[in-house]
Amino acid sequence: MAGEVKTKLSKNLLRMKFMQRGLDSQTKKQLDEEEKKIISDEHWYLDLPDLKEKESYIIEERSFMPCEDLLYGRMSFKGFNPEIEKLMVQINSKSKKEEIEEDDKMEADVSDEEMARRYETLVGTIGKKFLKKRDQRVLHDEDEEENSNTRPKKARKMFLKPQD
């Protein structure tokens, strides 16, 4: 019923803000595109081929700070202003950290392969820890079954949907 009412309203009315609040994003996009089409048709443009913008290798940087790696302007020496000296240590360690990241990877104590091996087994052991008791029992049973094939597998109790 509401759909019939919509087709009777004029397009200008539909374009008003209070009518668009109820619309979903798709119809809004369609309306926007239609408006853009109308506008772009009216605009005059030069019928020339598109000129390709030359790639510029020049970056404009107005500040000297990054060009010359300037330090922070507030300094204190020999403990005159302890807060500032703390700040200096902080700022210098920050810039040092950036340097280390840029440098090659630090030598790892443990090789990648060993790390992968350890992680594989680790996932299993941690996973077992979080299994519910029932599942743990089944796991335990499976392990035992591998050793002795005689033990019958206990049926896992699952939720049975009540029949109507």
Partner: protein, 179 residues
């Protein structure tokens, strides 16, 4: 790609976004301080642009105070705006520069020399005696040491660095360390 820098030699400072400068408070207009930063225009500084500042908790800033801050807005079309907090809202050494001390002007080139990493002048001065130093990219330097005499010695050395050779400077400092 290799980075080459092309710089313009200027005498007067031109505000640049991100630069840290020393400004002098010249007045208050409503909620905004006006600062002289040595440029062609005065800069504005909102009272909320200080660490922990709220409408009720206003920073204690008087006319004539020295402020160390950075430019948030600086272009040829707009009046420069300064703030005394960094992007995470911390003061990080910015704000009102304390009482006493001495403010003087040097050339922009010398400031860049002094702020260069491993600057020999700064390293040599730091061996003399305890003192505090603020270097503004606008060519302003503020020094404070325990006594007036110590403060003025540092001021004179920094001013003389404009034309002294490294040798002359080392000689002058050697004489002072003898004191």
């Amino acid at each position: 790609s290799p980075l080459t820098a092309c710089t313009r030699c200027r005498l007067q400072y031109v505000p640049v976004k991100g630069d840290h400068v020393i400004g002098i408070v010249t007045g208050k207009v409503g909620d905004v301080f006006r600062l002289d930063v040595g440029g062609s225009e005065q800069a504005s500084l909102s009272y909320l642009a200080f660490e922990g500042a709220t409408k009720r908790n206003r920073p204690n800033v008087q006319v004539g105070d020295l402020i160390y801050g950075q430019f948030l807005v600086a272009n040829k079309d707009m009046e420069p705006e300064m703030v005394c907090i960094d992007s995470s809202g911390r003061a990080s050494g910015m704000g009102v520069i304390g009482q006493d001390g001495f403010l003087f002007k040097v050339s922009l080139g010398l400031i860049r020399k002094l702020l260069a990493p491993k600057c020999e002048i700064i390293q040599e001065l730091s061996q003399l005696y305890p003192f505090e130093l603020v270097l503004g990219m606008n060519g302003r330097i503020w020094v404070k040491a325990k006594t007036v005499q110590q403060t003025l010695i540092i001021v004179n050395i920094l001013e003389a660095c404009e034309y002294m050779t490294a040798e002359q400077r080392k000689q002058a400092l050697a004489k002072l360390s003898g004191n």
